[in-house]
Symmetry: C2
Subunit: 233 residues, 2 copies
DNA sequence: TAAATCATGTGAAAAAAATCACAAACAGAA
DNA sequence: TTCTGTTTGTGATTTTTTTCACATGATTTA
């Protein structure tokens, strides 16, 4: 009991990718694996640790897009472009290790292995699907909807089922949570406080326990889409 | 003078795709080419007319995601999935015609033609990139930012350069514009009114003319990203 | 051409969210 | 353990946005 509820696609084919892996990189908490605008030579697969993918706007407000862990792919959007550059920031929020894959090599592999290319297209589809649904939630359901949606996704990706509810096994500050929602830190603090008072969640040493995910779901009219499309990776 | 400023990728390879085209479909204004949840057998390439891609939430609020025209691909996200279903609504807002491509056929073609698969991955990358940037604008810059971003993208996709400014050559109601921004119809009306009073835009028979796109850009701290990543397709 | 339908503009009020300012709580380092 | 820097909670205020209600304007269509 008490393990991750869902692990994303790329399975056998992931092995293929890893074979093309050139080197491994140590990830130190607080550093960046890459940042927006840097020239991109490599794509990565996480072996351990956690990485937050974000995009800044010009006012330096940050929007967190994904929270990645073991087996997740990061830096993928640079494939097959001229003068490839990273589009996002990849911040290490839990130390670990990643396998680096040279983009040029990967492009060759994809070109010669249609099974893998196919798998990759499928993965991108899934990925796109998640993103769009998430943004719909963020844009249409107000800031409360944004937070609830984020919590649900965090449950699906990092939730550990306990007797009392689902423990979201990541240490996130309110500010970071706010960056997932495009909202103000204080608003998150207030909304979490409300949920706490209503007994929907509780907070135990910086981690959230969701006692009634159903409540969050009904509040945003969650259509109970399959868990593989409703996560934060 | 006076033509579309940018036309998206898939060029030669588009021809390849079209060769696999099975039939063509007439598009009648006001109808839907497909709707969320319907089983998906075909992907489409627009030959003429305009189609709006949207996603609903459970409260039946609609979020408009793309506005597609000649040579744009719609219904693409169903590839390589089991029990494929459309994720979005495709509403015809200007009559025209589309080439339908059977998904199973296309999967075969992609599988056997790595050049095409490669091109497809690249297209999806671009597509993803646009989407993410757009949503960042929507989420981080408030409702005004959302509208300005939408107007800029509309200029890039449908703008016709005139002496006085850029004419956005699409007939959109305030409600439809609002659906692109995740905002209320009345708010759009008010914001457009303000822009009109300031002389930034004017409206001529339901179409917007942007006199100072620069003003819109500075307001949302637009980093002047390449036009091919800043459009509404 | 009139009637009907749909789209727009706008005031007033309510609701949602951000901002500012500061105290309290907590975590990590010395 | 104490100090220090970070994170959290919260009141008060301001700003942004939505909502409601209704008048006006524009387009269809019969």
């Amino acid at each position: 009991m008490g393990t991750k509820q869902y692990k994303s696609t790329l399975t056998y084919e992931l092995g293929e990718l890893l074979k093309a892996s050139d080197r491994s990189v140590k990830l130190k908490k607080g550093t960046y694996l890459f940042q927006e605008g840097q020239p991109a030579k490599e794509m990565y697969i996480l072996l351990s640790g956690k990485i937050q993918i974000s995009k800044m706007n010009a006012e330096r407000k940050e929007l967190n897009l994904r929270l990645c862990q073991y087996n997740d792919i990061v830096g993928e959007l640079t494939l097959f472009t001229v003068d490839p550059r990273y589009l996002f920031n990849a911040k290490v929020i839990e130390s670990g290790e990643a396998a680096a894959i040279n983009i040029e090599n990967l492009e060759k592999v994809l070109f010669n292995n249609s099974k893998l290319a196919y798998e990759f297209i499928r993965w991108m589809n899934d990925h796109f699907r998640k993103t769009t649904t998430k943004f719909r939630d963020l844009v249409l359901n107000g800031k409360k909807g944004a937070l609830y949606s984020t919590l649900i996704r965090l449950c699906n990706s990092y939730g550990i089922v306990k007797e009392t509810g689902i423990l979201i096994d990541v240490y996130l500050t309110n500010q970071e949570l706010a960056n997932y929602c495009g909202t103000a830190r204080e608003s998150v603090s207030r909304m979490l406080g409300e949920l706490r008072d209503e007994g929907i969640i509780s907070i135990e040493r910086k981690r959230v326990i969701v006692h009634s995910i159903q409540h969050l779901k009904t509040e945003i009219d969650c259509e109970n889409c399959p868990i593989e499309f409703c996560n934060i990776e």
